[in-house]
């Protein structure tokens, strides 16, 4: 098996040029674990891999024009420890902490997680719930693309585009975001059901905006529109959480498991009804945690505002 040549451009422009020069024979070294697993499985690797590790500024976290801008090369452990993330997007910390171990989070970058991830990765559902956007650079300049609709490989992007940052918009004054994942094993396959939620309250204490994003091991995370709609105008209470969770189960049941790959990385052979039941549990728990944060006011772990 041929070992790919690793190129390390010094800035984004050079990286874009190298991608252009080696079009068809190169790929970005994003998601090193995924590349390693492909190699282990005997899959052919591209002759050239471009590492972004030497590019200054790609691992920065900053607030720019009220947006939280997270460089694509930011390691997950740095996100966990970021005061800016804790203030602007505490729910993201909860999702990041669900990833592997400290050892793994010390190596994994948020960009690699998004670009080369598998459905059961934890941060993407929360980023979708936070209405985050992917910032991309290419020979045609920079652009942003909503992460809603995310799937492994970042659908909607082209081969000459480089993910350089994730942009999280500012939070509403009374907002809470929470993440719950349920991990286990079934028939030897890892089972995973997760829900990321974001709840914004209006001045009257009712829900004015909701994001409910569910995920399991067999499909990309998906927003549950009916569940979100059911919450609008309601008081955040257990009854509302139960109703939304039931609709999340229904949405999961209706969704097509487009990425279902039994036996492969991310595969899950459990009966669908069982998986969907766990999505309901994760959704209800995430919502109840968010509601508790909102009731607790500014001290709530995932909440902001009073």
């Amino acid at each position: 098996m041929t070992t790919p040549r690793i190129l390390e451009p010094g800035d984004i422009r050079a990286a874009i040029e190298l991608l252009d020069v080696h079009a068809g024979t190169s790929a970005l070294l994003a998601g090193g674990v995924s590349w390693m697993l492909r190699q282990v499985r005997g899959e052919a690797l591209p002759p050239i891999l471009l590492s972004l590790a030497g590019i200054d500024g790609l691992a920065d976290v900053a607030v720019v024009d009220e947006d939280l801008v997270i460089g694509a090369m930011t390691r997950l452990v740095a996100l966990e420890r970021s005061a800016l993330v804790a203030d602007q997007a505490p729910g993201l910390i909860e999702a990041v902490e669900a990833v592997g171990s400290v050892r793994i989070r010390s190596q994994v970058t948020i960009g690699g997680n998004l670009a080369a991830g598998v459905p059961r990765y934890d941060p993407p559902p929360m980023l979708i719930a936070l209405d985050a956007r992917a910032r991309l650079a290419s020979p045609r300049g920079a652009r942003e693309q909503a992460l809603d609709g995310w799937a492994p490989g970042l659908p909607g992007t082209s081969a000459d585009e480089i993910l350089i940052a994730i942009v999280v918009p500012p939070r509403a004054p009374r907002s809470a975001a929470r993440y719950r994942s349920i991990d286990g094993l079934s028939g030897g396959a890892p089972e995973h059901a997760a829900a990321a939620v974001r709840i914004d309250l209006g001045e009257d204490g009712t829900i004015v905006e909701a994001r409910i994003v569910s995920a399991d091991a067999s499909a990309a995370p998906r927003r549950c529109g009916p569940a979100e709609a059911r919450l609008i105008g309601r008081i955040p209470d257990a009854e509302a959480a139960d109703a939304a969770a039931a609709l999340a189960v229904a949405s999961a049941t209706a969704a097509t498991d487009a990425l279902r790959t039994p036996g492969a990385l991310g595969g899950d052979d459990r009966p669908a009804a069982d998986r969907h039941e766990l999505i309901g549990v994760a959704t209800r728990r995430a919502l109840l945690a968010a509601f508790t944060d909102l009731a607790a006011g500014p001290l709530g772990a995932g909440a902001r505002g009073a």
Binding site: R41, L185, S186, A189, P190, E191, V281
Partner: protein
Amino acid sequence: MTDGYGAAGDDAAAIDRLRAPEHRPDLVEKVRGQTRFVADRVVPGALFGAVLTSPLPHARIRSVDISRAASLPGVRAVLTGADLRDRRFGRRLLDRPVLCWDRVLFIGDRIAAVAANTEAAAGAALAAIVVDLEPLPPVFDIGLADAPDAPILHDDPATYRYLDGVRPPVPHPNVQGHLLVEHDAAGLEAAFARASTVVSSEYRTPRNHAAHLEPHSTIVVPQADGGLLIHSTNKAPYALRGQVAATFGLDAATITVDARAIGGDFGAKGYSIDEFVAVALARATGAPVRMDTSMTEELAATSVRHATVIRLRTGLDADGRILVHEAEVRMDGGAYAGAKPIPSLVPGGATSALIAYHVPILRIDARVLYTNSVPGGHVRGPGEVQALFAGESHVDELARAAGLDGLTFRERNAVRVGQTGGNGQGFVEPKAVEVLAAIRADRTDRGDHPAGGDRPARQAVEGPRARGWGMAITARHVGLGGAFPLAATVDGDGIITVTTGVIDQGGGAHTVIRRVLAAALAIDEDRVRVRVVTTSDAGPDRGVGASRTTHLASRAALDLAGRIRGWFDERLPPDQAFTMDVATSSRLIGDTPIALSGRYDSETAHGAHGHHDFAACVVELSVDTETGALDIHDVLVVVDVGTIINPVSHRGQIVGGLVFGLGQSTMEELVIADGRIETRNLDTYRLPRTIDIPPIRVIELPTRIGPGAFGAKMAGELTNAVVGPAIANAIADATGSRLHELPLTASRIRAARRAST
């Protein structure tokens, strides 16, 4: 004067020295990454060996066309079963073909082999081989494998060679091995008839893998004199030498096995596969051939813990005492029996379901069956893990039926001195009562203060929780295993250099030798050096494993120490007592070191037989009743282990065994579908991670009754079998739903709860 536990005089002083933590002689190199494992070794000119395996579980080989493969650049040899017809290998029964010539019996069975200049060329050659297979009906169900009309998987097993004895008879051609254990069994049905309570249950356990992180590797190097040098990861190098000689009709003396560094074992490194193909390729090419197994090959096509179906029936008297017990154990042996070294070809632990109890009337029928699946072999605690899950789950069901709690039931039925245990055997000083007493004391001390209340959770603990506790008890033999020789030199500075062919696969054998010698001679450990050599440079032994190594190595070291001391005693003035300082200052040894040897034969040694370790385990946990997720708050294990020689490694074995057992009972399963292993790497064959490990407490019983030096026993295969049933019993206590199948996954817990409501 004794040390309080029965050891007297010099023994007490030696035992006192053994309390200090050990320094493992192999540790520095390993920590620095300097140890050269087989896969690290470079042999100039070595070819790359590779094998083409069957994609079908059972098929007739119509043809194999190697013409294109053989003509590819860089390809040095292509062999098929036709070239190696009737060459079979195995640890005891030689039933597995080096390359199949007429039939393939599992997905992974080998059809052709290639030696090439590069790995890529070997891969290309494999891809160019054309095989025509005619599918045959497969046998997957061990319940049907020995049915009268079952397809016979081995046409003429009577022709298979059986090493070191005569193969015991089997009742059906598809039976690899059969054990029938009976004690007063003539009265079996009458006893069931008069029993106050009879409980019958069925349990299932899956295939597990030992999951040693170093896959098997080998390099076979033809020697100028016509012999073979085999670099191998096999932990029983002398046995491998004999097996290779038997398969190829060679003189064992012409074969040297070098297995001096092994990276993990857990029971599975006594079985070699690639060595045989590599020998054939090396003989065909005259060149060295290397083969390094991938983890996928390890998981899918080497050898695994036997899957089982175990049916138990037990009768109790009105006081909740066991009157009679019957067990039917069916083990999936896969396509070949050759991975098992034991004479019966049935993993010995298979009869251990009620081993720690007095059972007056008993019948155990244990069979290993041929199927069209990956071969069953030895993994840490072979047979015990399966039998104990069944037996100790069954005991809790018996206790419930008798209206007793699990601890009281066990106390009432625990085997005592002079009684027959649940495996039909007696014990030397059984400690079942003592380990249960320690459990009772701990439960009393804890009272209403369950453990683990302040254990940090990874995420918030939410949802409905059910809390419970469960326990299990086990016994495991201290192993035997023939002669164990040690050779040594002592130089004028009193430096003892021990030469041994026994390898240390991480279990601490070399440290045992070093520390026992040092303790017995009252010298610093640094004065003892252990030199591990190939099979050509030391006397033969059976290899590490079977819970015998500490017993044998320590006694051989003690014998050697006695001979060293005796050599000096004969030469020192009568009024001068031996110490090594006195001995060296007397200049009895000149420039040439003296050579001495020690030896221990466990089969003939007085008092070596019948020793067991006993252990009991209590698990406290809570179950998220919505998701089935387990949160284990506390694990307590009480172990009767005799004198401890390597304190750090010993604790590592006890705790590491618990973690190993926790993984194999709650998450590890080689999922198989139509004969194909689906969990083909460590992403789907999940092992415990650091965050999966609960708080563990260990209580060691202070006994000195083992057959090893100074009363040592064993530790490596004790706790891994007892933790699984303790968890199963705790789940049943918490949820009211009993799982009868391993692993104890969240989805199974949910399913059991759904079924019970």
